[in-house]
Structures are given as C-alpha cells and as structure tokens.
Symmetry: C2
Subunit: 99 residues, 2 copies
Amino acid sequence: MTASADSSQEVLTQEQFQAISRTLADPRRFAILQQIASQQSLLCGSLDVQGCISPATISHHLRELQEAGLVDAERQGRSMCLRLRRSIWNAYIRHLQQI
Amino acid sequence: MTASADSSQEVLTQEQFQAISRTLADPRRFAILQQIASQQSLLCGSLDVQGCISPATISHHLRELQEAGLVDAERQGRSMCLRLRRSIWNAYIRHLQQI
DNA sequence: ACATCTCTTAGATAGACGTCGAACTATCAG
DNA sequence: CTGATAGTTCGACGTCTATCTAAGAGATGT
C-alpha cells in the first residue's frame, strides 16, 4: 500500500484544479452539486431543478461534474446514482486555502 | 457597534458567491489573485503575467476581481496598489465547506 | 416483441467572455 | 507645458458554453 492511499489528503494537479473551478462557475451546476452532496447518494431523477431545465441539459451538467472528478455516477436499473467525491472536494478547498 | 462588524465572519449573498465563482473560473485571473494574496499589498505593475498579456486584459481581469469583491485597489501615484480582501475570501471558503 | 421510463448523444443556436489594438486619463519629472 | 509612465475604456473579434430539440440507447414490465 502507498502513502497516497489516504484519500482524505489527495492533491490536485493544476489541470484538475482549473477544471473544478470552471465547473463551479455555473450556478445551476453548483446547485446540482449541492443536492448531490447533501445526501449519501442521489438518483438522477430525484434532482430538484428549478426553472424548467431539459433532461439533456441536466445530463450535460452531470457529465461536466464527473469529468471534473467531483461526482461519481453509477447505473442502478434505469436510473443513475450520483455521489460526491469528498476527497476531491476536500482537496479543492485545501487548494483554495493555500492562497 | 453591530455584531456583523466582525469581518472575519462575513457571509456572502448568493450573488456574491456566484460572482466569485465565475471570477475564479479563469486560470489567468486566479494566478493574478494568488500573486496579490501572497503579499500584504502589491503594485499592479509588479504582477508577473506569463504569456504576453496586454495591459488592457490585465486591467479587465483586475476589474473582475474587484467587482467580485475579492480585491481592493487604491491609487498610489501612477500605480495601483492591490490587496486581497481576506474576509471575503474566507467567507467564500466557508461557503464551499458548507456543501 | 413491444411499450415505457430514464437518461445520453448529436447538432444547432444564442449569448457570454477573454483578448487585443487604439484612443484616453491621470500622475509625475524636467 | 511637454513628454513619459501606468492604467483604463471602447469597440471588435473569435472562441467557449449553456441551452434546446430530436433521435438514440439501455433497463424493466407485460
């Protein structure tokens, strides 16, 4: 086992950091992230998206969140189960704190 | 004196939070912010901007940082003196931590 | 097999944003 | 006053991105 196996102390590359920053810039996307974070895990269909947003747009935002490494998604029957990657989120905050 | 006079515990409105998130999304702007934060105060001309960026663009980014409330700017002769607003920065990080 | 539910992908469009050059303002030195 | 230095403002341009509709794809129930 490696020392970096301690996922509570992950460190982000510059690219990861920038990807996350870009991802958080959209208010809708941050709102989605908040909902995912507020539960242990959340089904995609349970997302409460105010303001008549199309499924395609939700899917787009979820992919951005996944590609930024902030969210994990897993099929569960017809639905997608979403989870915040806490270790990445914590690493992002630590990065900001180092400023 | 009011309770909110304690600037170490400022709270951001939704609009402030979103403005800051948008502002941080640009890597160049974050790099500028880092430099400002690394000093008590910094003259605009002392900014080390890698990659041939025009004065107009720097000025643009600095205004964004100011309008987001992250940076204070003050004339000093011909130069502009820049300072990070720590209380706002800390409030932003606290907001992220509440997720 | 078929219909249904739940997302995803593709393509198009409109608006936001980073960037620059050029012209402008403000400050200071002679 | 003149010239030089330091930023700012303006207008334009190209790229990126949030959004939609329409069509596709995977899972489940009948």
